[in-house]
Amino acid sequence: MHKLKVGIYSLSSCEGCIVQILNLEERLLEVLNHVDLVECRVLGLKHDDEVDVAFVEGFVSSDEEATKIKEIRGRSRILIALGDCAYSGMRFVAKDFGTSTIRADPINMYVNVDYHLRGCPIDSEEFLSLISDLIHGKKFKESSKTVCSECILLENKCLLDKGFLCLGPITRGGCNAICIANNKGCFGCRGLGDDVNISAFIESLKSKGISIPSYLLGLLKGPGYGSSQNS
């Protein structure tokens, strides 16, 4: 079988998504048995030619980067946005919905994105299932669960009930509620889930006496970023 040629690229970012991939350790070796990693600056690999799959982390903050992402798209069959920077311009992490004057554009403002891997950083299990789908020619499907529903499957104690802010009910799952499992409210880094009800969430926070962070009001207007390929 033809091995997929894979490139990993980064725009402005912390490169944590690449580190998350490297952190797969021996399971990465197994992946590398099935794909050809041909290009990755961090690992010293240069290719400058066509690839089957391009993973791109980071956002576009300059014209040079806009050119770069277009150049990568031009020579890749499938392009995947890695992490919150690439799919929303880091808005879900920075909780900045529309007020920023800093240029931090999601890559889908410039090119078509085939799949998103959400989160800050990406979830390595989700990365594995995406790469497995690509190897097998399947369509990758994002989790349709909310973080809240993944959390209850782990039988965690609800942080909202304890009076802490947790964005679990409106955030797209796929991370196995890792923050709540670590006793920390969901940070919302995976963006919004399907058909979430933000105004109802705000009401529910009010009734629990949890103060409403201002960015939630910004979200009500719709972030306009990170729209999923499922919708």
Binding site: H136, G137, K139
Partner: protein, 280 residues
């Protein structure tokens, strides 16, 4: 103790023939291994496994008198994508048949009006074959079939044969240079035939939007609710009424359907817009 057969385990089957129908549709003929025959009622479906990719429901499109079964598949998802990469001789898995098919008992000696859109002809093809085999058992039979373009018409090379036994009418949404037939939605074909609304059973299968308009039109023509049947499309994962994904108004499409009588659907408390039934 538990010694029941595990109904989740598919039976192995082998692809014996693949025919291209349209650019994105193929008909697969499948022989179930270790099984001499495969009996089903037209309108029933099977769950087909492509190992590694999953399982998906497909209407049976072939004839009831054949030992092998046929399904017509459009490439849209994971399982269909994988099936399209399969070749003759490859192994797949089959469970079924599942569900209730067309109401053949009721249709005997009555006139039949079949309305199909696009891929919706697949579960009706096995019915057409059944009718042709047992032609004398039925009254007048009309088949009204619409597709997006002439290239999207399924089973084209069977039309001549069919026409000898039944009244076949075709339409396309958009014609091409060679198309001499009707252009428009399948409902326009209803204007071309004059059916006895009192003694005709109408059967339909197609995209939700088509069935929606066809149901409305049939009602306006005066068809009684009891004489209209349609095949509903829902996501069936288990096929046995357990996974809960295919229910409409609490009814399991996988066991009570996919073919439902319009009168039944009208009594559902949940609206079924594709049947033209909207409550409240």
């Amino acid at each position: 103790m538990v010694s029941m057969k595990n109904p989740y385990i598919p039976t192995k089957a082998i692809i014996t023939h693949i025919r291209n129908e349209t650019p994105d549709t193929k008909t697969f003929r499948i022989r179930i291994l270790d099984q001499n025959e495969f009996s089903f009622t037209p309108g029933q479906f099977i769950q087909l496994s492509v190992f590694g990719f999953g399982e998906a429901p497909f209407s049976i499109a072939g004839s009831t008198n054949e030992k092998e079964l046929e399904i017509t598949v459009r490439r849209i998802g994971t399982v269909t994508g994988a099936l399209f990469r399969k070749n003759v001789g490859d192994i797949v898995g089959v469970r079924g048949p599942f569900g209730k098919g067309w109401p053949i008992g009721l249709m005997l000696r009555r006139n039949i009006l079949i309305i199909a859109g696009g891929l919706g002809l697949a579960p009706l093809r096995s019915l057409v074959h059944y009718i042709i085999l047992n032609r004398e058992e039925f009254g007048k039979v009309y088949l009204l079939y619409g597709a997006r373009t002439p290239a999207d018409l399924l089973y084209k090379d069977e039309f001549n044969t069919w026409s000898r036994y039944i009244d076949l009418h075709l339409t396309v949404d958009k014609g091409d240079n060679y198309w001499k037939g009707r252009v428009g939605l399948v409902t326009i074909l209803l204007d071309d035939v004059s059916v006895d609304t009192e003694d005709t059973i109408a059967l339909q299968c197609g995209p939700p939007i088509m069935m929606h308009f066809v149901s409305k039109k049939l009602k306006s023509l005066g068809f009684p609710d009891e004489n209209i049947y349609l095949s509903l499309e829902r996501l069936m994962k288990c096929g046995m009424g357990f996974c809960g994904r295919c229910t409409v108004s609490g009814r399991y499409v996988c066991i009570e359907g996919p073919v439902f009588c319009y009168a039944d659907i009208k009594s559902f408390i949940e609206a079924i817009p594709e049947a033209g039934v909207e409550h409240a």
